[in-house]
Symmetry: C2
Subunit: 402 residues, 2 copies
């Protein structure tokens, strides 16, 4: 193989990734374990919400007209005809002219009433209630179906279920919800220099940081990471682990080998078992990335440096995950910020610079490729488009937060 | 009990909450399941990282002085004395004057060399390598301990383990990590009007939305929610469920009953089994909140409207969770935004207004108390301090995102 890669633009690489994306697979799970999952189908209200005219305060259900002009000095005098019990409406209770009924928050507004005077503005004098504030028609009342109408679409597919959404799904009767199944993503670490976390590195060895980083990212993004350990740079080992991982996973990430020999081996093995679509992307860091397919399963060769692997994960792999999860917009949060200093960049490649975002100011952290400490000290990435020679100090940039 | 609550400021309520906070409990778990958890102890590098001078590119290890002045026209001529194998350093390989050694990315820099010329700038001619670019001392080399020194503190306690952090923890040899144990939080729904999600509400009934919302929030915030179902507004039922929940949980939330009778019952039962510290907070929505303690366990009575319960969860309960998890700064993300329109507020109470944040502009969503749809249409809260009469259009506000 040549020592120069045939790099392609990021947009073309992403298009290649999307062209081999498996379809979204769905599953139906209990609402109580659905927080953070992605809805795979629209959700409708199965009933009117609320199902009845409902008081939003503790007070007295009245005919608003009976309270016209009422105040501290001249209260409305109303005859109290009882209390509304929670959850057990009594159809015989109704509010006629000059009468009122005590109603707790959430209670069913009795027939005849069209407003509620808060208890704070009412005074009891035996069976007579002194209403000290005029109520307007509909005041302190939530009307039947005012929140959601039966059959109304409450959520569209592709929405991540937030805690509030879980509450609304409960109100809509969704004891189970249909969500995108979590893609199973295999993680294979390659490289003769790698040792597991449990081993103290000997001369020339380093611990496998990528596998843990990738697994934590994938889990947070709604996937199921699956570890296949560390394999040496030997063709038989590559082929054997891929033969095992490909059938068990939806996507496979090969990671860790940072040398050219290792990358070439990765590409050769993917080519022999399937096809290599991309070998080299105009992205920095992350140029020597491989995108391939074995059978119907996307397989990626990620660069070895953790920081590079992370950028490729966000820029190249994430669009695949979004597609498989059915997310229209990436889940990863971004935030606008002002750039603290100039960032120079090389035209022709999309560059991702680690930044520390604090109080709306993004400060780039430059440092040698391969350093881990800039990953820990930074909290986001700024993307410099391939066509730009850099971004000037004071510009507004979008920070991809992590 | 009086119909008026004896409300106290939010700061006093939070102080009361913190005064009864149980201490942080720790546990040691495998790194692979530690993503998103909170470190409960500082972490040090157990070795130098890297443990040796390391090339960050594929290229030729050289003495920088030998390449002085080299360029395309006048390359440095160097004798190639072999290749560095990954992970298996050969102490016999060294780079003397006029020689070089092929080194893959991540390889151990051989003795004598102090820089690496990238393969892109080198040309092979038999045993002679033509170096076409001058390398400066240390170029393309990551020095031993340049990333982290043995014994250096890499993370402080209280840090949420991000995916990158998981990678660095792996590099530091943390196959297991000590984290804050997830607090177990009991959720008890109260109110005669409530029915479970699986039931179609009859006249006067509503589904229990709060329990699902609270559980999803707690799970996302790093707690273990534990459901105790819906209990009717009867003293014996309250006492029985609390007798069961308090020993099984670290914190108990009573939620759902929105009427005064229900709140009074909650306060009375907590008082009979333990003590009520706070009944009524100067917060809107969420005024009728109860803070108590049974034995050593904090017990909250949350307001019944989901939107109110959510505000109290963030403003009052979260400080307790932060304390129990050992988080110095809340995990909940905030973002600065410009306020689209005036928000009027009542002096003397801290108000939380739901907003839709889009493109840096926060638009308040006003609507009747008790509506669920504003929870779904909004994506954050803006806090108006108790002393303010409101916030003017165009002001910069901090949005608490959800």
């Amino acid at each position: 193989m040549s020592r120069f890669l045939n790099v392609i633009p990021v947009a073309d690489a992403v298009a290649a990734v999307i062209s081999i994306s498996p379809p979204t697979v769905t599953e139906t799970i209990p609402l109580d374990s659905a927080g953070g999952r992605i809805l795979a189908a629209a959700v409708m209200a199965d009933t009117d919400i609320p199902g009845f005219d409902r008081s939003v305060v503790d007070g007295y259900a009245v005919r608003a007209a009976d309270t016209a002009g009422a105040g501290d000095a001249i209260p409305a005098l109303l005859h109290s005809n009882g209390r509304i019990a929670m959850g057990r409406p009594d159809p015989s209770t109704s509010v006629g002219p000059g009468t009122c009924t005590y109603i707790p928050t959430g209670g069913v507004l009795p027939a005849g009433a069209d407003a509620v005077v808060m208890v704070e503005y009412a005074e009891e004098a035996g069976d007579t209630i002194l209403g000290k504030k005029a109520a307007s028609h509909g005041e302190n009342v939530l009307l039947r179906d005012e929140d959601f109408k039966q059959g109304e679409i409450v959520f569209l597919a592709g929405r991540r279920i937030s805690p509030q959404d879980a509450g609304v799904l409960a109100a809509c009767g969704c004891a189970v919800v249909t969500v995108a199944k979590k893609p199973v993503v295999g993680i294979i670490s390659t490289g003769n220099e790698l040792v597991p976390v449990t081993v103290v590195p000997g001369p020339g060895q380093v611990r496998d940081a990528n596998a843990s980083m990738l697994a934590a990212y994938l889990a947070e993004y709604g996937c199921v990471p699956r570890h296949y350990g560390i394999i040496p740079d030997e063709r038989e080992a590559f082929e054997a682990v891929l033969a095992r991982a490909v059938p068990e996973c939806d996507v496979v990430l090969l990671s860790g080998g940072s040398s050219k020999d290792d990358r070439d081996m990765t590409a050769a093995v993917i080519a022999s078992l399937g096809e290599v679509l991309v070998h080299g992307i105009a992205i920095a860091p992350g140029k020597p990335t491989i995108i391939g397919r074995i059978g119907s399963k996307p397989v990626f060769g990620l660069p070895g440096h953790p920081a590079s692997a992370f950028v490729v994960l966000i820029a190249i792999v994430r669009p695949l995950l979004d597609r498989m999860l059915g997310i229209p917009v990436p889940l990863q949060r971004t935030e606008k910020a002002t750039l603290a200093i100039n960032i120079p960049s090389q035209r022709g490649r999309e560059e991702y610079v680690r930044v520390m975002l604090e109080n709306g100011v993004a400060t780039p952290l430059f440092g040698k490729s391969g350093l881990l400490n800039t990953l820990v000290r930074s909290n986001g990435l700024v993307r410099i488009p391939a066509g730009a020679e850099g971004i000037e100090q004071g510009s507004t940039v979008e920070v991809i937060l992590w």
